[in-house]
Amino acid sequence: MRFMLLICGFLLAGGAFAQSDSKAILAKIDAQASFLDSDFSTEIVMTTTKPGEGVTERTIALFRRDREEKYVRLRLKPDSDKGKGYLNIGNNLWLYETVPTRHFTVTSAKDRFQNSNARNSDFTRSTFAEDYKIVSQSKEKLGPFDTTVLNLEAIHDDVTFARTKLWITPDNLVRKKEDYSLSGQLLRTSAMPSYQEFKGRFIPKKVTIIDALMGKTLNGVFRNEVTEYSMGKLSTDPLPSLIFTQSYLEKNSQ
């Protein structure tokens, strides 16, 4: 009896350790991609390829103040989108449109970003440790990388995807990510093969998002919709608080 209790205790302790260890991995991933001690700004160049429909190119300015859960995204290109943007404060995300009239509408971090395959939540700080629990993990070779594969399940309903799968290299960088629906249908795959180090953080040089469901069959072969983006002009210079206001977006559009 005493032996059985010992075994159970050992297993429970082992499970708790494994869980806390996994949480620690997620927290490290988050820490490497978040700027809680400074502001962060960057310029994102994004292309979306819709098979048979051509390529759309966009340039977006991103301003983040992670410690206050605030960010602003301004559309810089194409010219027809200039002046439009997003403002996020806490759990509220507004979309500022200029056509047909200048107005704000409430939108969701879970929604698509500008008809691309990216979601609004792709541009916020990383919050894996707060949003997900690890349900399983394994080791896998991903091209040249030795990775740990984590299967995650959402622990609350504020996340965009109920299930997600991460391929993480020993340096705690996410090299590949698959997002699933609640029923387990693959919705999209993201690849981040290379990173740039910036002020002690790691920013993907290029992110490629492949939509698993959307695309077109061309010449008998199914081609997925793909969105690629890269981040340049990185900065941690302090940003004026005025940027994170609706009036800034209004003023910027004039």
């Binding site: 098979p51 879970k110 959402a154 309903d157 504020d158 996340v159 965009t160 995807f161 109920a162 629906s181 609640l182 029923s183 249908q185 919705l187 469901l213 959307m214 695309g215 077109k216 069959t217 199914f222 081609r223 997925n224 919709e225």
Partner: protein
């Protein structure tokens, strides 16, 4: 009198020809007009009742909204206790967001409404959909079966048997998907065509609702049923049994009540079909208004024509009237004779008009209007459904007889009042 009137009517028919033609044309126009109107409105109502949950429907209001009906036996009891002539029952679980997507071969299409049916209850009604491909197979239906409109099928290039992904948000807001097999394609490119149908348990599964959850119960009344009166009757029975909203009449008003009162327990709203979609109701009212206007204008034209023609006929027959009076016929008999002739004219013209109108109406029903998207809402399989609006047609026949009588009575009285000698002098 009848024999003399008939003899006169036959002998004088050359004088009545113009009048008879006008009356026949009138009867044709009214038969077609009322028949088409009845067909269009009946079709719209039928489609709307199938799209929404019948003529009378019950929804559960609660904050936060879960839509689930917890008192089904009480609601069913209210339906049966309301002494209504029920044609169909509806039992459904519905996705209330407007972001449901069907995805096939890389292309997605938003559906305005995704309806989970309890086919054990709704099979008979759903089988009335106009299937252009596939349909409702005999026996047990596939759990992952999907039925879409031809418009959706065309846009997604879907064929029966294809695997389609349905993407919705669960009750907790997670994006979720399910793979379904297309079983049937029904014809509807109208407002009601942007709906997909599947088994309610399958929809509950993808929405993460309890497997047997139902969010709408309803009844379709027999064709002569009044949905407003029916809804009120159900509401009166239901309100004494379970928490029920005050009579609100429309869905918007029900939402407003819910926002104002924040019910923490499921409180039921009883709504008539007209309260679900004001635009459809307005459209039907507009059709009736245009119809009534046309009918009044046409009747006025016919009445004036009849009156003038009878004046002429009475004038032309003055000598004949004088002869009859000279032979001893009383004034009252002369008036009766004229009126009987006019009644015969009305009867014969209406009968011929109704017959020809029915033929025109039937011929109209043979024309395929399905190419015109604007008219889809009003058509069945692209055709104007046969509808014989008896009360309206009979009312028109009665009005036409009355018009003929009114047109005949004054000239008949004038002719009867003339002195026989003066009448005989008339050239």
């Amino acid at each position: 009198m009848g024999g003399i009137a008939w003899r006169n009517f036959v002998l004088q028919f050359h004088r009545y020809r113009v009048l008879a033609t006008a009356l026949v044309l009138g009867a044709i126009v009214f038969t077609v007009l009322f028949g088409v109107t009845e067909s269009l409105t009946r079709t719209v109502r039928e489609k709307a009742a199938r799209y929404f949950s019948g003529d009378v429907m019950v929804l559960g209001m609660k904050k936060p909204a879960d839509w689930i009906i917890h008192d089904e036996p009480a609601i069913e009891l209210a339906f049966s206790a309301s002494d209504l002539n029920i044609a169909y029952h509806h039992r459904r679980s519905i996705y209330y967001e407007y972001d449901a997507k069907l995805i096939f071969n890389g292309v997605s299409l938003v559906q305005r409404r995704v309806i989970g049916l309890d086919f054990a209850v709704e099979r008979a009604n759903f089988s009335k959909q106009e299937f252009v491909e596939g349909g409702l197979p005999e026996g047990a239906l596939p759990e992952d079966g999907l039925w879409v409109s031809n418009d959706t099928a065309q846009r997604l290039h879907l064929r029966v048997g294809d695997e389609v992904v349905l993407m919705v948000k669960t009750t907790k807001g997670f994006r979720n998907t399910i793979t379904l097999h297309l079983v049937g394609v029904f014809q509807d490119s109208s407002f009601f065509g942007f709906a997909s149908y599947l088994d309610y348990r399958t929809l509950n599964k993808v929405l993460a609702r309890p497997p047997e959850a139902i969010t709408e119960l309803g009844i379709t009344l027999a064709s002569d049923g009044d949905s407003d009166a029916g809804a009120k009757a159900v509401w009166r029975h239901l309100k004494s049994v379970v928490p029920t909203l005050p009579w609100v009449g429309t869905l918007d008003a029900a939402y407003a009540w819910s926002d104002a009162n924040n019910p923490t327990v499921t409180t039921y709203a009883v709504l008539p079909l007209s309260g679900r979609l004001k635009q459809i109701n307005d459209l039907i009212q507009a059709i009736y208004a245009v119809n009534a206007l046309l009918a009044i204008v046409f009747l006025l034209v016919v009445a004036i024509g009849v009156y003038n023609t009878y004046q002429m006929i009475a004038f032309e027959r003055t000598r004949e009237i004088g002869t009859m009076r000279a032979l001893g016929m009383q004034r009252g008999s002369v008036v009766s004779l004229f009126l009987t002739e006019s009644l015969m004219l009305g009867l014969l013209s209406s009968a011929v008009g109704l017959l020809l109108g029915a033929i025109v109406l039937w011929s109209l029903g043979q024309i395929d209007f399905s190419g015109n998207l604007m008219t889809q809402m009003f058509l069945q399989k692209g055709h104007v459904a046969w509808a014989w609006a008896w009360p309206n047609v009979l009312a028109v026949v009665a009005v036409m007889w009355l018009t003929t009588l009114t047109g005949a009575i004054r000239p008949a009285l004038r002719a009867a009042l003339a002195r026989p000698v003066e009448a005989l002098r008339q050239e």
